[in-house]
């Protein structure tokens, strides 16, 4: 894919390295001349020096019809302007940005940004999930939190131990997608698979159903 990385410092550096490894074609725009020198020497790619929230900078960098633009400046208003120019004037297919103020996440989506990343929001979400239910080792949300993947460690006293999957009643829109077992790496279960103590279950569900899932497996 052809990707523009606009603004940012350490995150930009990391992201650029990662994207190059994955063989994407990258253009970098950054307003800090010293950081531009650093990025171009480390990553061996073209770096345009300029304020990416200016129309002519985006035009000169040649972002027209790129697949993705990622705006990483520290100012939310700048990121919105960059994304809106890219989408409205240069036909960039997907625009992504970070926001410092988590309240801007929904707002920017409403104003046309495809994906808005708020690190504060993500950290807060992670902490609240980690503290409410200790048995949920890890929770990951995908598709804007419409779907979550929960990792549950099966304790010996759980009701589901030694039961077949077909005998466990799960809430609707829920599936045990994978079982990780020490003796046999991983199992994609069928109805007749038995759950054992010490298994790690990867459960796909809606966020609302997370507690019900836990109840169905533990009680």
């Amino acid at each position: 894919m052809r990707i523009v990385v606009a603004g940012g410092r350490t995150q930009a550096d990391f992201l650029i390295g990662d994207l190059i490894k994955k063989k994407h074609r990258i253009i970098v725009i950054n307003d800090d001349p010293a950081y531009c020198d650093y990025l171009s020497s480390v990553h061996k790619i073209p770096v345009y020096q300029g304020d990416p929230s200016k129309y002519f900078v985006l035009e000169e960098a040649g972002v027209k019809d790129f697949d993705v633009l990622v705006a990483l400046t520290h100012r939310d208003a700048d990121n919105l302007a960059i994304c809106q120019y890219a989408k409205r004037c240069f036909g960039v297919k997907k625009v992504v940005c970070t926001v410092a103020n988590p309240k801007n996440a929904d707002l920017f989506k409403e104003l046309g940004v495809n994906t808005v990343i708020s690190s504060t929001h993500m950290i807060a979400q992670y902490i609240s999930q980690a503290t409410t239910v200790e048995n949920f080792i890890k929770t990951m949300s995908v598709e804007d939190e419409k779907v979550i993947i929960t990792e549950i460690l099966v304790e010996p006293q759980y009701a589901c131990v030694d039961k077949k999957l077909m005998d466990i009643t799960l809430p609707s829109n829920t599936i045990i997608g994978c079982i990780i077992r020490k003796s046999s790496d991983m199992i994609v279960p069928t109805g007749s698979t038995e759950i054992k103590s010490g298994d790690k279950l990867l459960v796909l569900s809606s966020p609302e159903n997370q507690k019900k899932v836990m109840a169905a497996i533990a009680n």
Binding site: A81, N101, L107, E110
Partner: protein, 143 residues
């Protein structure tokens, strides 16, 4: 002007333009709310200023909700930053449906961000160029 008196006007950015505009509209009988994140900027307002001054971040949604943006008749975005002005104007017009939204842009290219929305751009650059263009066209006529 097409606004009824007593209608509410929100001005974001108390620079020279924002400050003077707030004073003028307040004197004409509008309910004016002026927002700026720097307390010192309110010194530009005259002593008997009849509007409300709020020290807050004008691009924060909570601030704008606090000043009841959804029933304002007009909003003027005139902070010193074009991108902030663009964001504020879009919140006012596209999210809260404020009927009359004005935005000041130093960079005339920013027009492309608000094209097609119910937002009126004000460009000091174009106004200045207009004066010179007019002057030169008058000279041509005299020749």
């Amino acid at each position: 002007m097409k606004f009824e008196r007593k209608e509410r006007v929100i001005i974001v950015g108390c620079g020279r333009l924002g400050g003077r505009l707030a004073t003028m509209l307040s004197d004409k009988g509008y309910q004016v709310v002026i927002i700026d994140n720097d307390e010192n900027s309110f010194k530009k307002l005259p002593e008997g200023f009849g509007g409300i001054q709020i020290k807050a971040d004008g691009i924060d949604l909570e601030t704008l909700k606090y000043v009841d943006i959804d029933d304002a008749a007009m909003l003027v975005a005139c902070t010193g930053n074009d991108n902030m002005n663009s964001l504020i104007a879009q919140i006012a017009s596209r999210i809260f449906g404020v009927p009359n939204v004005y935005v000041r842009f130093e960079d005339t290219d920013k027009e492309k961000l608000i094209n097609g929305f119910n937002i009126q751009g004000i460009y000091p650059f174009k106004l200045t160029m207009g004066i010179f263009e007019e002057m030169l066209s008058n000279e041509d006529e005299e020749d």
